[in-house]
Amino acid sequence: MVQFLKILPISAKIGTVTVMYPYDRPLVTESFRGAIEVDPDKCIGCGACTRICPPKALSFIQEGETLILRYFVGRCIFCGMCADTCPEKAIKITKEFELASDQIYELYSDVQHSLSICRKCGKKFVTRKLMNKVKNLVKELPEELLELCPNCRRIESLLRTTTTR
């Protein structure tokens, strides 16, 4: 009947569970996923992360001769798919979650890449780093076809195959 009184000794034993947050222990465990950090040295600008990002927080912006990989914290859902997908393992998941700010430009972080230019039509189509990486990985590519954008490369290959007859 008076079982409901037993809550009193339980509360007395437990004390207070409130955590005085900024001055007390940290709130996150070891597996917590927070904001990401893109390493500018390792990133080659392939764009795999921009294609897999569910809310499109990572995106490419082209400004003149530079390709910018822009990370917008405001859209990020901290899923970590970009870190899983990056072939160079350039994306690191940190434990940062205190990201609020009253200036929106603080929520953008950029990694800049210089672009290679197609030597025939002048279109900028891929970053220099990605091109160097492909050059190193695939040794059998003929030199003349490398510095061309896909359209020009098709035309050039066609010309080569028809003129070698």
Binding site: M1, Q3, F4, K6, I7, I10, S11, I14, V17, V28, T29, E30, S31, F32, R33, R51, I52, P54, P55, I77, F78, C79, G80, M81, D84
Partner: protein, 569 residues
């Protein structure tokens, strides 16, 4: 009770009868319908709309058949038809029956099934609103979309363009603004909020003194168009969207989607991944039921119970963060498996936390349920008779509190539930106390299930290496969420789902609320509505309409509030 016992003894008497009935049914519809190959999990029957009523009538003769969901799909780009899929489930055979009705574009009228199956009411209204299929023999009015939506614009069709909507959308408020000679109008939808609920629902309670006489429900204030959005995302991006359908039970939606795609493409998920999915699902059930208990105590005025049960829940949340990386939106599901593993250290910590939670919860719940006011107000209120529960095809603790042992984990086993033993919590009294006791029993069951799963975790990969999408296959994924059955149906496309249908359990359970609310006191309305554990989520938008130019822009509320803040500065 009998079905439950027969399953326990492995005799499956009803199952045998139902097998016989099912074969009889297939024989009897030979002339009217065509049976298609659907794999071992479901039976696909294609029927013309004239024979639909007869086929469904014959199907309902099998015992324990209930309507799981109904999907309307625009497949004109594939085969030129609109299609309606009625998905029925036979509990005792663990089989689903899909009745498929193809319709041509100029003949979109289907006979209504509302007299046979009461539960099909909402589905027909939704198909009418969003896809434009008319049902003969019943009245139709706006259900999901707002009242001033233009009549011929149907959002879920593949040829829907937002420009059509912009041209035809004339909110009623423009006439009124012209009357008062205003230049611009800002609509900020703030209501309707009922003081008992913390989310936007609209219940009209007609009271006489303190007794409730009748109830009318209007919902869909926060329709976000997730099904249409999913059609434009890739296969592995959709689980993250699915997780955000619900703020408390998100993981069941992402698991259900992944299971639907895996069934459609016949992907074999490794066992370790299935165990990990089940572990996280049970953790979610734990935290959801503890949350519900806290909210129920708060609605009864017993705030101490609220604080203590959420304190116990906090340990579960921290454990979930340790195992998956986030407290709520876990983000570990992808098609073909999971993304994060559980190592020995984490298993040890989980067992510790479970031991603590069980001990504290046991002492706490004995105290809380014995508080005289809590006992007196939960017993005998919000009665939901068993016959009504069966007729409305309800799911989850709502129906288990009325004596029907329907549980997807036992009836249509998925993930790792085939490999463990547990009991289904059932109570017979049909009142609020019964539903609360079902949830309390399920908490103890979940802790037991978690111990079995953590014990038996097999070694192996946690995801399939790779898989290839094939278009135009059907898959159904269903999971027992804390609130009931979640069922997703996916028709696959090339890079993204062609049609994705989400049916949350509260959609199926809400028609039961007016029945529960009849002839009870006004004071018991909040706890009765909360006893089905309703789960909605909130978002809102302001529309700025310029009367002179007729231009309409949608502006998110945060932009409006920041503009105001800058004006004040």
């Amino acid at each position: 009770m009998y079905t439950y016992l027969s399953k326990l003894c492995n005799v499956d008497a009803n199952g045998k009868f139902n097998e016989v009935y099912l074969n009889e049914f297939i024989q009897s519809i030979q002339g009217m319908a065509r049976i298609e190959e659907g794999g071992t999990d479901f039976l696909r029957i294609v029927v013309l709309k004239d024979n639909l009523y007869n086929v469904v009538e014959k199907l309902l003769k099998i015992k324990d058949v209930y309507l799981r969901t109904m999907v309307s799909s625009d497949e004109r780009t594939i085969n030129g038809f609109f299609k309606l899929y009625y998905i029925f489930g036979i509990d005792t055979l663990s089989k689903s029956v899909i009745v498929e009705v193809p319709l041509t574009e100029n003949d979109l009228i289907v006979p209504t099934l509302v007299n046979l199956v009461k539960a099909v009411d909402w589905y027909e209204r939704e198909a009418h609103d969003l896809m434009g299929i008319k049902f003969a023999g019943r009245n139709q009015y706006r259900f999901v979309l707002p009242d001033d939506w233009p009549t011929d614009v149907y959002p879920l069709r593949k040829d829907y363009a937002i420009q059509d909507l912009m041209k035809l959308y004339t909110p009623k408020v423009i006439e009124r603004a012209k009357e008062v000679e205003a230049e611009a109008v800002t609509i900020i939808p703030i209501g309707p909020y009922h003081p008992a609920l913390h989310e936007p629902e609209y219940f009209e309670l007609y009271v006489r003194g303190e007794k409730i006489v009748d109830v009318r429900y209007v919902g869909f204030m926060v329709h976000r168009g997730i099904e249409k959005l999913g059609e434009s995302m890739k296969y592995n991006q959709v689980p993250f969207l699915a997780e955000r359908i619900c703020g408390i039970c998100g993981f069941v939606h992402s698991t259900s989607y992944c299971q639907a795609v895996e069934q459609a493409l016949q992907i074999d998920v490794p066992e370790r991944a299935q165990y990990i999915r089940s572990i996280v699902l049970e953790l979610e059930r734990l935290h959801s039921h503890l949350l519900w208990l806290g909210v129920a105590f708060h609605l009864l005025g017993y705030d101490t119970g609220f604080m203590h049960s959420w304190r116990i829940r906090e340990q579960v949340m921290i454990l979930a963060e340790l195992l998956t990386g986030s407290r709520k939106t876990y983000g570990i599901n992808i098609v073909g498996g999971v993304r994060r593993d559980i190592d020995e250290d984490k298993i040890r910590k989980s067992l510790e936390v479970l031991k603590n939670v069980e001990k504290e919860f046991k002492t706490f719940i004995d105290i809380a349920v014995s508080v005289p006011q809590v006992k007196a107000r939960l017993k005998g209120t919000g009665i939901l008779p068993k016959s009504e529960a069966h007729a409305l095809s309800l799911v989850g603790p709502t129906v288990r509190g009325s004596g029907i042992p329907r549980d997807i984990r036992k009836d249509y086993p998925y993930a790792a539930y085939r490999y463990i033993h547990f009991d289904v919590a059932v109570q017979d009294e049909c009142d609020n106390m019964a539903r609360a006791l079902v949830r309390i029993d399920e908490i103890f069951e979940s802790i037991d299930i978690l111990r079995q799963l953590l014990d038996k975790l097999p070694k192996g990969a946690i995801a399939v290496e790779s898989w290839d999408p094939e278009p135009h296959r059907i898959g159904i994924g269903s999971v027992e969420a804390p609130r009931g059955e979640v069922i997703h149906m996916v028709i696959t496309g090339i890079y993204s789902p062609y049609r994705w249908r989400v049916r949350a359990p509260t959609y199926q359970n809400l028609p039961a609320v007016p029945i529960m609310l009849r002839e009870i006191e006004l004071a018991d309305a909040p706890i009765t509505i909360a006893s089905i554990d309703p789960c909605f989520s909130c978002t809102d938008r302001a529309l700025i309409i310029n009367i002179k130019t007729g231009k309409i822009e949608g502006v998110p509320l945060y932009v409006l509030s920041r503009k105001k803040l800058e004006a004040v500065r």
